[in-house]
Assembly symmetry: C2
Homo-oligomer: 301 residues x 2
Amino acid sequence: MKLNILGCYSATPRTFTNPTSQVLEINNHLFLIDCGEGTQVQLRRHKIKFNRIKHIFISHLHGDHFFGLVGLISTMRLLTRETELHIYAPKGLKEVITLQMKLANSWTNFDLIFHELTSEFSELIFEDKKVEVYTIPLNHRVYTNGFLFKEKPGERKLDMNAVLNANIDIAYYRKLKQGADVINNDGKIINNEAVTFAPDKPKSYAFCSDTAYKEDIVPIIKNVDVLYHESTFLEQHAHLAPKTKHSTAKEAGSIAKQANVGKLLLGHYSTRYDDLNLFKTEAQTLFKNVELADDGKVFEF
Amino acid sequence: MKLNILGCYSATPRTFTNPTSQVLEINNHLFLIDCGEGTQVQLRRHKIKFNRIKHIFISHLHGDHFFGLVGLISTMRLLTRETELHIYAPKGLKEVITLQMKLANSWTNFDLIFHELTSEFSELIFEDKKVEVYTIPLNHRVYTNGFLFKEKPGERKLDMNAVLNANIDIAYYRKLKQGADVINNDGKIINNEAVTFAPDKPKSYAFCSDTAYKEDIVPIIKNVDVLYHESTFLEQHAHLAPKTKHSTAKEAGSIAKQANVGKLLLGHYSTRYDDLNLFKTEAQTLFKNVELADDGKVFEF
């Protein structure tokens, strides 16, 4: 998995910082998560091909998380895209996008498929052979979801030397990969683990922005490898967090600890702060493995 | 008058070029003309204070001319603006903007006043003591207006030495500024031109983008000091101009010549070209005083 941070600052685009957008590469998918103004330029800067993006996930309908979407779709149209595009977003976004296409008399040549979200409970919204995506209901000023991206467990890998030594017919290889014990050409039961390796541990990533501190999400994101959790405020402005329904760095640290995640990424910083390191320091009072997201950073895990 | 080019390329924002937006400074007004994606960041780069913009003119509802507007309005809201904002734009824009504010539950604290345009004829849409703004109906794939900005003739200036020598009562100064002859303290008629200077010649600027070649605009923009006329294509792609309802550089030159303008500014270049100088060369086959607009350029006239 590879995570490209295109933008991770709150509120408004500025000369050197961008509102929320990131691209998660997982099992050959390029999932775009949120799409603030300027995202299409950030995609160009990161040399990410627009055509490889087939699924876009929008957390909520505040401008700093979706104002770049209509422009990205328009550009895809100008680039004569033909591949269908799926958009997972709160109800209402379809109306915003189609109204603007209607006024411009500019319909896309490709299928634009909206999956409008309304549920207050975590739900499976995407699935293929290798990946699942679930919503994570958050607590913000408008209807908001985070997203949980999970690889499915892979197949076991054949230890070819052991398989050949054990005199197993090729017809049984499929069963071996699925974890079954098999009978060899001599009629002997071969224990699966003796001739296969365990699959790679499936990876998982949770994106949680924007949200007030919400312990209810802990069971949903339990044990994820990486958690991106918003941290709009430092402790000195902790009183603003409940009012604006955002979180502090320390609250992000608390959620990470309770959910026993592998790594915590902080982001969605208020633009009032100059020194991002304070976010890390404050989160680390509760949870050690913290990294700071920043525009242009790429995380591989 | 001062013209800040924030963006002057067609179609899509790219890493180093921006879609259409410009700021005209005229008689203490800052008029924003068009507002492609990223305009708010370009305003910051140019150190133009958002609060000084009170009137925004949108030519048409293609994305590269207005996708940055909703984000700019949102940012003005976050900056706790209180001054009212007037938006002159084709019918439909109000619905786009208000729908997005409704979904975000983020209404502005300042008055947002839409002047929706529908007329097919040139009309006066703004006027104060010193400036008038008229629409210039253009010919594009959707309903489109250019805009003509005109200073009103100023008052004559007193030649104070001559006024004092002529023994004129201070009560008549106002009349002198308005151009009238007056009677002095000795009962003698004083010829206005003997004691006043002519006012500065009123300046005018016409913005014409996007449009196919349209001679009907010539009487409207006759003798303007500066004409910004789109030139999407070079001659080698002239066949694309009528189809897409854009103009070539040469067509822009022809309009400038017929309208007897002071200076022609070219812009709205297709991003397929690397060498902008060819636009100038081709326009100059018909009209000499041509300059190339480019992002970040400032013209004073």
